[in-house]
């Protein structure tokens, strides 16, 4: 008996232990369940994707295969086939984004041939119908210095490479297109007359050469065995030869030719210049010569600021204008158009000409010869610089109801009559909505919906084109092109809720500040409109306090450290405003305090921080060990923190260090001599300049990816030691006691001499991320998830619970109760957490998130080569009925219950009656 109990006892303990761990497993799996994923039938319900290719560099019509296509190669290093009828992408190949992916040549015959890279080059052949790779060979040039001037063309199924050494000679090599075997080997052609202004119109190379006043126009056939020069004195051709220049024809013209002095068009025929009788209609016109059923046609397109877009066609033989080619109806704005490709039916079947036109704003239009626009692709959206979710204005009716409650004065009767009027209005709109039914009318103005899920996405692109996109459908509502905007560092500011948005950018040429204010709902200029400043800007911010018109003033700090406030009247409101300016290359951060001295706002330097480190003395080059700033991440403005602390397992509270002025600064240094590199993360208080915490990763390379919110932050770096990407996470706490009283506003000065408790951890990422963002909800009640865009084209949602630095290696029961997951070095990135499922997104550069009216839901826009919009629910949709909620079942059950109650009542009364009779 005693023996039995002896053997039982440890077993019992083991059982207890097992149960305890089981308990933990339940917690763990409930957390695993946190990673939400969608159902298969929800594809496309909340999300949309738009595929782009970038600004078209080369284009050619594929008329060989049955399905008509346009093959394009773009500035974004993308090779794609576009459907001729719809403009949609048929197939697409994305090359490397670095110079190794530059597409130098596109040649479409039976097969598509591309030359890409920059010494070494890659020659690839593609099947035009399916887009599958057929052959591939590499080519390395000996002469690396001159390689950037290389020109390529295909002649008689041989790839010709031409390398001019200006003022000396031209190297011409011919290769077998499929195998790369050097057919005729390299030949050096003496050409003392070459210079930078030469143009290639295959197979001729044409130059303007000679002393001023005695210019010669020289052209040479590169492929003929005998070197033949065609030459003509320029003075004979044009009167004013000083401003003469050469320009090539566009649109893969079928005959070699060029444009001289923006005036004369010349062909090269039978080794002679053949100047055409048709002159250039406009100095900026783009010209192509095409073959059509009625002979060769000279097509010209140009754009006039006042009169709009023009297109003309002249017959080469007769010089008469072709009547069928007409300009499109007015209203089409194509700034500085270029013919990318053109095709006309050559045989007897009456195939009209079609032109692919690329404009300065990166948009590509396919035009019919009668001026009809078949389709338009807004390729500017392939390079998004900034995006903002804007709330739609409330409908007139809702606004009226709100204003009704604002009106306090008036008698009871007046209020009553107003109420009646309102209700009559509501009834009428309700009836109208019933009549309209489900279909949405486009003429209806955009108004806010009940859950504020319907928003306007305002996107600023690199080229300076601004778009307004409906977030539910992905439709472009408005677009506006601003010339001369250097948008690379532009920022959006919401000046007035839902009605005024301001872009602060720089001017392309001068670098001076440029401010564009517009209404985000319809894209019309408003407020300051387009305002050109005469100084460069260092920093800008928005005043927290709005003025009487609910307008937030813009505070600008220029390079002379003068402060401008827009509008000027708001200068009196400047108080307690601080700014910092970080210089990336020198790694210096300067803090300013802004103050209104009765007349104007002055900026006073308050602190400065030099993060360059001691390595700066090694040398001027960037790899000497001096630090440079990789990025600066402040907290998102107008952010809410849900709770001031965390409840621990022992029922005590760990208070968060919630400093709204905290800025994460990532710096990186490389020392090539010692093969060392460091990544330093520093949390700086932007008001006082105090360094709250910092940490160093050795032998690591920084990636400009970080998230920062509430009391936590995370950043990604690449560990060169272990050759893997890692993510470092930090959480800041004040401790068990609050520093300030509950409810007191945070003050950077009051908490200056206190040390925050920092918990840190780092996790291994099994994939390389390209962009990172945090989900945002209205009141920060829902869990925070980190969205990581991977280079593979997936966006993964990682719950913060996995990234938390407080994850213990061996959890105590209290920590288990708190719900901390035991530490594991590798972060799981399961396929269920991929929010864009199998819709690959190439080269994601940014993820933008915004809260919706629903606390559970956060709106996500991923921008890169593609645009992808979806919504995520980090804590699941706790405030929404499930998608597959069974309305029928609940209705049937309820009605059945009611029927059952009444029938039992009837039967009960009958029974009572029977019993009474007994």
């Amino acid at each position: 008996m005693g023996k039995l109990s002896f053997s039982l006892k440890p077993n019992f303990l083991g059982l207890l232990k097992f149960l305890n761990s089981f308990n933990w497993f339940i917690v763990f799996f409930s957390l695993v369940n946190l990673s939400v994923c969608i159902y298969e039938d929800q594809i496309g319900k909340f999300d949309w994707r738009q595929s782009y290719v970038g600004r078209i560099k080369f284009a050619q019509f594929d008329t060989v295969s049955t399905a008509k296509k346009i093959i394009v190669a773009t500035e974004e290093n993308v090779l794609a086939a576009l459907n001729l009828k719809t403009g949609q992408v048929v197939w697409r190949h994305v090359f490397e984004s670095a110079s190794t992916g530059n597409i130098e040549l596109l040649h479409v015959a039976e097969k598509v041939v591309t030359v890409s890279g920059s010494n070494p080059y890659l020659v690839r052949g593609w099947d035009s119908a399916t887009g599958v790779l057929l052959w591939e060979w590499s080519l390395t040039l000996q002469n690396n210095d001159q390689a950037e001037f290389s020109e390529w063309f295909v002649e008689n199924s041989a790839l010709v490479h031409m390398l001019p050494v200006f003022g000396s000679h031209i190297e011409v090599s011919m290769y077998n297109l499929m195998t790369g075997q050097n057919r005729g080997s390299t030949s050096k052609l003496p050409a003392l007359w070459t210079n930078e202004g030469c143009v290639l119109s295959a197979p001729y190379y044409t130059c303007l050469s000679g002393n001023p006043g005695s210019h010669l126009l020289i052209s040479m056939d590169l492929t003929s065995n005998a070197v033949q020069l065609i030459s003509k004195p320029l003075s004979q051709l044009i009167t004013n030869e000083y401003d003469s220049s050469l320009r090539s024809l566009d649109g893969n013209s079928i005959v070699p030719g060029f444009i001289l002095g923006d005036k004369k068009i010349s062909m090269i025929k039978n080794n002679e210049f053949d100047f055409l009788s048709v002159e250039l209609m406009d100095p900026s016109a783009s010209v192509a010569i095409v073959d059509s059923s009625n002979g060769l046609i000279i097509l010209q397109i140009w754009s006039d600021d006042e009169k709009g877009f023009f297109i003309t066609g002249h017959s080469l033989a007769t010089g008469k204008e072709v009547a069928e080619i007409r300009r499109p109806a007015s209203g089409l704005s194509i700034p500085s158009p270029e013919i990318s490709a053109v095709t006309c039916g050559t045989s007897r079947d009456v195939q009209p000409c079609r032109l692919l036109v690329t404009a300065q704003d990166d948009a590509s239009h396919l035009l019919h010869q009668n001026g009809r626009v078949v389709w338009t692709r807004e390729e500017a959206l392939a390079s998004v610089v900034a995006a903002e979710f804007v709330d739609l204005p409330v409908s007139d009716l809702d606004a009226a109801i709100e204003s009704e409650f604002d009106q306090k004065e008036g008698s009871v009767w007046a209020a009553f009559s107003r109420r009646l009027q309102q209700q009559w209005q509501q009834l009428r709109t309700f009836l109208a909505s019933l009549q309209a039914g489900e279909q949405r009318d486009h003429s209806q103005p955009l108004v806010r919906d009940y859950f504020n899920l319907h928003k306007m996405i305002v996107i600023l692109t690199d080229v300076g084109k601004i778009f307004g996109i409906d977030n539910l459908t992905g439709e472009i509502v408005w677009r506006r092109y601003e010339r001369g905007v250097d948008a690379s560092r532009a920022v959006f500011y919401t000046r007035r809720h839902a009605s005024l948005l301001t872009v602060v950018a720089a001017h392309e040429e001068t670098g001076n500040g440029l401010i564009i204010s517009f209404n985000p709902i319809d894209g019309s200029l408003a407020g300051e409109r387009r305002m050109q400043l005469d100084t460069r800007l260092l920093q800008c911010t928005l005043l927290n306090k709005p003025d009487q018109e609910k307008l937030h003033a813009l505070v600008l700090l220029d390079s002379e450290e003068n402060v401008q406030v827009l509008p000027r009247s708001a200068a009196v409101h400047v108080d307690n405003t601080f700014m910092y300016v970080a210089d990336k290359s020198t790694a210096k951060i300067q803090g300013y305090a802004l103050r209104y001295d009765g007349k104007e706002v002055v900026a006073q330097k308050t602190w400065s921080l030099n993060l360059a480190g001691g390595g700066a003395g090694f040398g001027p080059d960037g790899d000497s060990g001096a630090h440079r700033i990789v990025g600066v991440w402040p907290k998102p403005s107008a952010e809410r923190a849900h709770s001031p602390g965390r409840v621990l397992g022992d029922r005590s509270v760990l208070y968060k260090h919630n400093n709204p002025n905290l800025v994460l600064v990532l710096t990186e240094a490389r020392d090539l001599h010692h093969k060392e590199s460091w990544v330093v993360a520093m949390c700086v208080d932007a008001v006082s300049g105090a360094v709250v915490t910092s940490q160093v990763q050795r032998r690591a390379r920084a990636l400009p990816l970080a998230v920062h919110s509430d009391n936590f932050l995370a950043y990604v770096y690449y560990s060169e030691k272990h050759r893997r990407p890692e993510i470092a996470t930090l959480e800041l706490y004040e401790g068990q006691e609050r520093w300030l009283e509950a409810g007191a506003a945070f003050s950077s000065f009051a908490s200056n001499n206190k040390m925050a408790l920092v918990s840190r951890a780092a996790y291994v990422l099994p994939a390389l991320p390209a962009a990172a963002a945090l989900t945002r909800t209205e009141r920060a009640l829902a869990a925070r998830h980190v969205l990581l865009a991977l280079t593979t084209g997936a966006i993964v949602e990682v719950p913060w619970a996995y990234l938390e630095p407080r994850r213990p290696v061996t959890p105590t029961p209290e920590q288990r109760e708190e719900g901390l997951i035991p530490y594991a070095p590798e972060l799981p990135l399961p396929a269920e957490a991929v929010i864009n499922y199998n819709q690959t997104l190439h080269r994601i550069t940014n993820i933008y998130t915004a809260p919706s009216g629903l606390e559970s839901t956060s709106l996500v826009l991923a921008a890169g080569l593609d645009l992808f919009y979806t919504r995520v629910a980090p804590s699941k949709t706790f405030d929404l009925l499930k998608d597959d909620f069974d309305y029928y079942l609940i209705a049937i059950v309820l009605s059945a219950l009611i029927v059952a109650t009444y029938s039992t009542k009837y039967f009960a009364s009958r029974k009572l009656l029977k019993m009474a009779w007994k």
């Binding site: 984004s97 890279g117 070494p120 887009g131 000996q142 050096k188 003496p190 065609i230 593979t792 219950l897």
Partner: protein, 224 residues
């Protein structure tokens, strides 16, 4: 006019022949290596155009390779070093491979292990990439099952009153509850539709008194 007429210069053929074929080979020695291998298509035969959707990423897109019709791929111009080669397909998962090329141009391919970075499990080179499994991006909608139906709160709501109806008559046999029920019956007679609140209060108060009396009875029994 003749003077200005265009003329053609014929220069002697000064062709300096360079052997480009040799130059390529020379460069391979300078650290221009290739990574080659073959991607095997997913099992399912009906997939068209899987080649177009499959890319080869080296070091997360630093070098990108495309696959041919038969699944082979070559990545050109790779300097010596260590590279993670992954096959990116939106629907199928492939295991990444680490390829190490030393300065002499020797290759070694091994499994990627981010945790134990020094662990070497060699895999054959040229690479042979086989799909591991299909990605499961979606939750599966719950199917209709009998157990689910039975444990549905709605169904329980329906079944429980039924059970109560079955049990209540048995409880009727108890004399004390009978009395309580009579009281309720009296109340029911007084008004055709009794108020819910009244019914509940009477039920609960009655129930509690009944319980207490029961407990008392038990105590009495124990004392005995």
């Amino acid at each position: 006019m003749e003077l200005y007429a265009s003329f053609i210069l014929i220069v002697g053929l000064i062709h300096q022949v360079l052997c480009a074929a040799n130059s390529i080979e020379e460069d391979i020695g300078n650290g221009r290596n290739i990574i080659e291998g073959r991607v095997f298509p997913p099992e399912e035969q009906n997939i068209n155009g899987w080649q177009i959707n499959t890319r080869i990423h080296v070091n997360g897109g630093e070098y990108i390779g495309f696959i041919r019709d038969d699944g082979t791929f070559v990545i050109h111009n790779v300097p010596s070093g260590s590279y993670v080669v992954e096959v990116v397909n939106p629907d199928y998962m492939y295991e990444p491979v680490r390829v190490e090329i030393n300065s002499k141009g020797k290759y070694r391919a091994r499994k990627v292990n981010y945790i134990q970075t020094s662990q070497v499990i060699q895999v054959p080179y040229p690479l042979r990439m086989k799909p591991l499994s299909k990605f499961r991006y979606f939750q599966i909608r719950e199917q209709w099952r009998l157990t689910d139906f039975l444990f549905n709160p709605m169904v329980i709501m329906m079944v429980l009153p039924l059970l109560l109806i079955m049990i209540l008559p048995k409880m009727m046999n108890d004399p004390e509850t009978k009395e309580d029920l009579k009281q309720i019956g009296n109340l029911a007679k007084m008004s055709e539709m009794p108020e819910m609140s009244e019914m509940f209060t009477s039920l609960f108060s009655g129930g509690s008194t009944a319980k207490s009396t029961n407990a008392k009875a038990k105590q009495v029994k124990k004392r005995q």
